[in-house]
């Protein structure tokens, strides 16, 4: 049985993070607080070459989730995927270290 009480605050935090991100995107772009300008690396590449060159940069891989062009959906999926991956990896590390510890004892 999952001890929900133990995970209450992390779950609330995740919901708050998703909510805040959605608000930041919605209000930020409406008021112009956020920017759709290229970031530092993109700006440097556009200055040196051109925007067309940057857009035409060949990729051997098509991004698996690149077809999602809605910021809100991408944000929610990304946050949930990140949490799932991180919890899986750190749980694995924890599991292995506990196993090693009990073996040593």
């Amino acid at each position: 049985m999952v001890d929900w009480e133990r995970y209450k605050w992390p779950i609330i935090s995740i919901i708050v993070i998703i909510g805040v991100l959605m608000l930041m995107i919605a209000i930020g772009f409406t008021l112009g607080i956020l920017s759709e300008d290229p970031d530092g690396l993109e700006r440097a590449l556009i200055d040196i070459r051109s925007e067309e060159w940057l857009e035409g940069l060949g990729s051997a891989w098509e991004p698996i989730l690149g077809w999602i062009d809605n910021d809100y959906i991408a944000g929610i999926i990304g946050i949930l995927l990140t949490i799932a991956l991180i919890i899986a990896v750190f749980s694995l590390i924890s599991h292995i270290s506990k196993k090693m510890k009990s073996k040593n004892e």
Partner: protein, 223 residues
């Protein structure tokens, strides 16, 4: 800062993948120490929350004068809260998810992990530690000096990562190295200010609300 596919040469891609994997393996084993403590499992959901925060903040681009924008990278921030080794793993996972969306290349994942996770996370952590070594000679409270050191360390780490990123792009030969390095450092001297403010504020907020989440106080010499 996210290098796309098609910009680096194959040798740079392979070398940086090897370096990144090597450091990730070391990070994996170094974290064993942390997780051998009985209560450490409680930390895992919070590590997930921190990773989600980094992902969310990397989504939010703030305007920077000159027609560019910046967003939090968060390597130094995670390094200060969870330690340098956890920072590498967290940043790698965030970058994996972002690359699935096309933000940063999949072949360039090793390079991006090196720049943002290793330089930002491990490098940034030790820069913060060095700054705190100086602050420790003063009477400033740790709730103040750790956020300030985090802000300064984040700024230095992001500019350093941009410098290394410029070199990596220059090696590929698509853009001359002196131009790539100068452009990357110039823009990140501006963008780094946002990184510093956000990182410092988050550490300050964590100290105010849940200080026990900062598990690196002993390592940073402020316990």
């Amino acid at each position: 800062m996210h290098i796309p596919d098609g910009l680096l040469d194959p040798v740079t891609i392979i070398v940086l993948w090897i370096v990144a994997v090597f450091i990730l393996v070391i990070a994996f084993w170094r974290l064993n120490k942390l997780f051998q403590e009985e209560e450490s499992e409680k930390l895992i959901p919070y590590i997930g929350v921190l990773a989600a925060t980094i992902f969310a903040f990397q989504f939010v681009n703030y305007p920077v004068p000159g027609g560019t924008s910046g967003h939090l990278v968060g390597g130094t921030l995670v390094g200060v809260i969870l330690g340098p080794w956890a920072a590498v793993i967290v940043l790698f996972m965030v970058l994996v998810v972002q690359s699935l969306f096309g933000d940063g290349g999949i072949t360039a994942l090793g390079a991006n992990t090196f720049n943002m996770g290793v330089i930002g996370g491990i490098g940034g952590f030790y820069i913060v530690k060095a700054i705190l070594w100086i602050f420790n000679k003063t009477e400033i409270k740790k709730e103040i000096k750790v956020p300030i050191a985090t802000a300064i360390g984040s700024y230095i780490a992001i500019v350093l990562a941009a410098f290394i990123c410029g070199i990596e792009i220059g090696i590929g030969g698509i853009i001359p190295m002196e131009i790539a390095v100068a452009a990357m450092v110039f823009w990140h001297l501006l963008i780094g200010i946002g990184e510093a403010i956000i990182s410092g504020l988050i550490v300050w907020f964590v100290y105010k609300t849940k200080p026990e989440l900062i598990i690196t106080e002993k390592m940073l010499g402020v316990a």
